[in-house]
Amino acid sequence: MDDQQQPSLEQSLDTCLDAIARLGWSVDECVAQYPAYGDRLKPLLNAAQKLGPARLIEPSTAFRQQAVTRLRARLLPANPRPEPRAARGAFISVSRAFAGVLATVLVVAALAAMVTVLGNAPKAEPVQPATADSGSSVTPTAAYQPTAATEPVAATVEKDPLEAEIDQAMNELDDLNAAADTLNDEP
């Protein structure tokens, strides 16, 4: 074999190790391929062969059976989570907390508005039907005047900003709930 093409001892050793492991060659068969290194290759290959029994080492049955449970117990207390997920999780938590606070404020505002509207209801007395024997000081004629009956209602619909605010608040609340549901549904 030409010296320039001759592989190094390390390369020959590596080739032999692979041939033994993957092609089932014997040590002697391989050494015969590299007569220049024969004396030096053989003890190295024999040493590698002696490591064979080490491949049979495995965890005990008891450890294998408890392995996942033991690992789970160690992961849970620290509750570590990979960072990208942690960042997203933090965002979702803050979003949820913010949505919760905002929803509470809006509901309180809505209730307050409703109370105010109901509190204004007596002003609409003229529109209530009066009977002849009701003893009301309101005259029947006045009670049934179209203008008297419709004006307060129209005023409530067109002018009362509170009802509009309630509607808007409820719409926003729906939007927030929908957004929270979307965040919850994300994997």
Partner: protein, 182 residues
């Protein structure tokens, strides 16, 4: 190929925080990491604890793992190596080797064979532990775990040529240490 796809999917799920997916990866890689750790520390109970530690660390840093750069097994072996290095810094090497090494032999109820095997493994552990750190890595990965030389070189972070030199040196030392064995 399917196994690789499955592993990639499990890694992705685990990186998103899916603990069940990570547990499957743990089960799939348990034996190889245990063996690696066992030959580094020579004690079954320590090997169990440290194997667990490897996967706890893997879970904690899984977000940094890039599958396109390194195979998961190589990445886990590196963590295992670091864990065992830390272990040796903390404690002196155990004086004696601890009992059952092989569940399969124990199940076969062959007392004589178990005793022979334990003696052989004890000698191997003692011989391997006389090697330098990187030599131990090469010997365990290449001859016990059966990694190719390319995978071994990648895992230990050396060139193929450097890894071959380490392999040669390690086998020469092992040959002397194991004279009369086997």
């Amino acid at each position: 190929m399917t196994a690789e796809v499955d592993e990639a999917r499990l890694i992705l799920l685990a990186q998103r925080g899916d603990q069940a997916a990570f547990e499957t990866l743990y089960t799939n890689h348990l034996d190889m990491i245990y063996r690696y750790v066992f030959f580094r520390v020579g004690d079954t109970h320590e090997a169990e604890d440290l194997t667990e530690e490897v996967f706890v660390r893997a879970w904690e840093s899984l977000a940094q793992y890039q599958s396109r750069d390194t195979r998961l097994a190589s990445w886990l072996y590196r963590i295992a190596h670091n864990v065992t290095v830390d272990y040796h810094r903390r404690q002196p090497p155990p004086i004696s080797l601890s009992e059952p090494y092989l569940a399969r032999l124990a199940a076969a109820d062959n007392t004589e064979r178990i005793a022979d095997f334990q003696q052989t493994v004890g000698a191997l552990v003692a011989a391997i532990r006389q090697l330098e750190d990187t030599e131990q890595m090469v010997v365990i990965l290449r001859f016990i775990e059966g990694l190719s030389h390319e995978e071994t070189a990648t895992t230990i972070g050396k060139s193929l040529e450097a890894s071959r030199v380490i392999q040669h040196r390690a086998l020469a030392k092992l040959g002397k240490a194991l004279e009369g064995e086997g």
